[in-house]
Symmetry: C2
Subunit: 387 residues, 2 copies
């Protein structure tokens, strides 16, 4: 165990807020040139903004996350998805930082997405929702910060797709984030990464319940979305963590029942994950957000971004986990390689963890201490008062 | 390149034969105690059986294989699935060996399986087909050998599920096979292995076209079976081979088309694999054969098999491929570990190959030379005349 790890407390009861940032008359202009309005954004904040507005930390969520990153909704028993790292005394210390988390554009937890009503038709967008990019995800979050009158970020923290947003953000706006914290992310997906997402999308889109994306107000392609989620879960766990969690144990007895029903514990786990996902996620959002990741290629036009890398104020922390095979360490090393080649300050660490890609959600001491220290140093240098 | 590699020729035109080995009145008794009859078996042979019937080599096929391992069916352009290794002058040299390959019990290419008519009802079995085991797969092949009056095997060769059959065969009948050649197989699946198969089965069984398995004569759960096949293909290729084959290239142009249709080359490949599979495979067979693998646990009762290991006449060759992550080298090492611990003679080799699990189907010189030498040595010792 690393030293200095203190679990910390909870931010307590929180509420999700919503704000309309763009309207039909003043729409959001996407990277593609498409116009989108209204755009409403759901977000949560934890901890107080200081007087000189210098202690803001944005949390960017991963594929199936939402704005509810920490604390408890009224009456809920399960805290937000990243409560392990956000809270008083935790690495993202809400006694020192003002923490903001939004639901992403195209999401399904309060921010405008494919399930929202298209004012042009009065019907949900479905697949008529414009295809958007990593840059668009960033710009909507920047619009929220402008609305909140937060001029710059002490830090940005995100895992997986969350880290990809932060990379794009820093490349597009190299003077806006002090401490860019990119956990188990990628500058571009491998064909294997794309392959898993492609099969997931096929499962969704070929489900008769998909109806070309126009399944609202029904639940739509429940089989396809469950299959997608089950497959994704395999990639979130490591071989080792599956051995530890499930082994070859059977669900109900010491003996196999020999049949096609759920029998092994690992089958029961996956079925459960597939089923509960239906209650909280929209299939169309799954399509859009996975496709954003497929097309993302942060360093594709290195000549275009070189000047911005030269202007980079952000200091980077890039973390990977040694058992993560969804985005293994070579993804992180590639980010580090390009940043290093352009003289950007970057700390890189591969954290030992048996828990695969899901490690970023877990309170691993070495991981948390590293994030804690990285943010605290940025805060010290920015003159943010200690908690 | 290893030395001594000679590609060899083709066995030419071949036909699949069929024989009824068990009848309703004289049924096959499964390990479970269930009775099954009639059982018809499809098989092919290549090369002549010698006078003292000592040169027989059985080929055991993998999950989606069939009896057509080598040569050409009349009018066909694509040879059998393991034509790379079987033929005159090839490692499984049909000028020296008499090679036999059957379609497995429960398969869908001529051997009795879930699509066959249940004489009790006059309807296809569907999921009323009895669940069978690795041992049952072996015993049906042994029944064919008895029918052919082949008392013992010079060698048995198989990859993946094929290798698993050979392991079971040697453990159950330790004096029947001289050279047991087990390629990229496993003595028992990991929870991750099971997980992939479980999701594949869910995709099939939750497809409305599955109809509880009673979809004949229709094609049944085409979406689910395609999804299963696409997912499986991801596990058959290595990350590296996907990079080489597809990279992040687009199918039709240098530029992305930005949409949900097939765009990346890897998507096109997977969709094609999913589609063509429907023409040659039955979804119920996929369920049964993957389930055999899940439940297989060759060394589960080591006390029971220890006496048979002590009687083992078979010499083993166990091969893995370093980029195979479907059944990685730890699976092979586990087989070797147990055999070694019981003083069974075993050669083990991890072959360098970028091609993942699919390597076993490819004519890699080091791999083929190793198999060639292993079989030739057994043949020499058995006094089988050289070609």
């Amino acid at each position: 165990m690393a030293t200095g790890h203190q679990p910390g407390g909870s931010v307590g009861t929180v509420v999700t807020q919503r704000v309309v940032l763009f309207t039909e008359d003043d729409p959001f202009v996407l990277e593609s040139g498409a116009h989108l309005g209204p755009v409403e954004v759901a977000y949560e904040t934890y901890g107080a903004l200081n007087d000189d507005r210098s202690n803001a930390v944005i949390i960017c969520h991963a594929l199936t996350g939402d704005a509810h990153a920490a604390g408890l909704h009224d009456g809920a028993r399960r805290p937000g998805w990243w409560d392990s790292i956000i809270g008083p005394g935790k690495p993202v210390d809400t006694e020192r930082y003002h923490v903001i988390c939004t639901n992403l554009l195209g999401g399904c937890q309060g921010t405008t997405g494919p399930a929202s009503v298209d004012p042009a038709t009065g019907e949900p967008y479905g697949l008529r929702f414009p295809l958007f990019t990593m840059r668009d995800l960033v710009e909507v979050q920047r619009a929220l910060l402008a609305h909140l009158e937060i001029p710059r970020l002490l830090a940005a923290v995100g895992g997986s797709l969350g880290g990809m947003q932060i990379l794009q953000w820093a490349l597009d706006h190299p003077q806006e984030i002090d401490a860019a914290t990119i956990v188990c992310a990628s500058s571009r997906l491998t064909p294997q990464n794309i392959a898993f997402s492609a099969v997931a999308r096929e499962a969704i889109m070929r489900d008769p319940g998909f109806a070309g994306g126009d399944y609202y107000p029904g639940r739509g392609p429940e089989v396809g979305l469950s299959i997608a989620r089950m497959m994704a879960h395999i990639t979130y766990l490591s071989e080792e963590s599956m051995r530890t969690k499930f082994g070859r144990r059977f669900q109900d007895s010491d003996e196999p029942r020999f049949g096609f029903d759920v029998d092994f514990e690992v089958e029961s786990y996956l079925n459960h994950q597939g089923a509960v996902f239906l209650d909280r996620f929209d299939a169309n959002s799954y399509l859009y957000l996975t496709r954003v990741m497929d097309y993302f290629d942060a360093f594709a036009d290195i000549e275009e971004i070189a000047p911005r890398l030269a202007d980079m104020v952000s200091r980077f922390l890039v973390l990977s986990f040694d058992s993560d095979w969804r985005f293994d360490t070579t993804h992180s090393r590639e980010i580090v390689r390009v940043l290093n080649a352009h003289r950007v300050e970057v700390s890189f660490r591969e954290i030992a963890s048996p828990h695969g890609h899901d490690s970023f959600l877990l309170p691993l001491p070495e991981y948390h201490d590293t994030v804690r220290g990285f943010l605290a140093r940025a805060a010290d240098e920015a003159g943010v008062a200690e908690a």
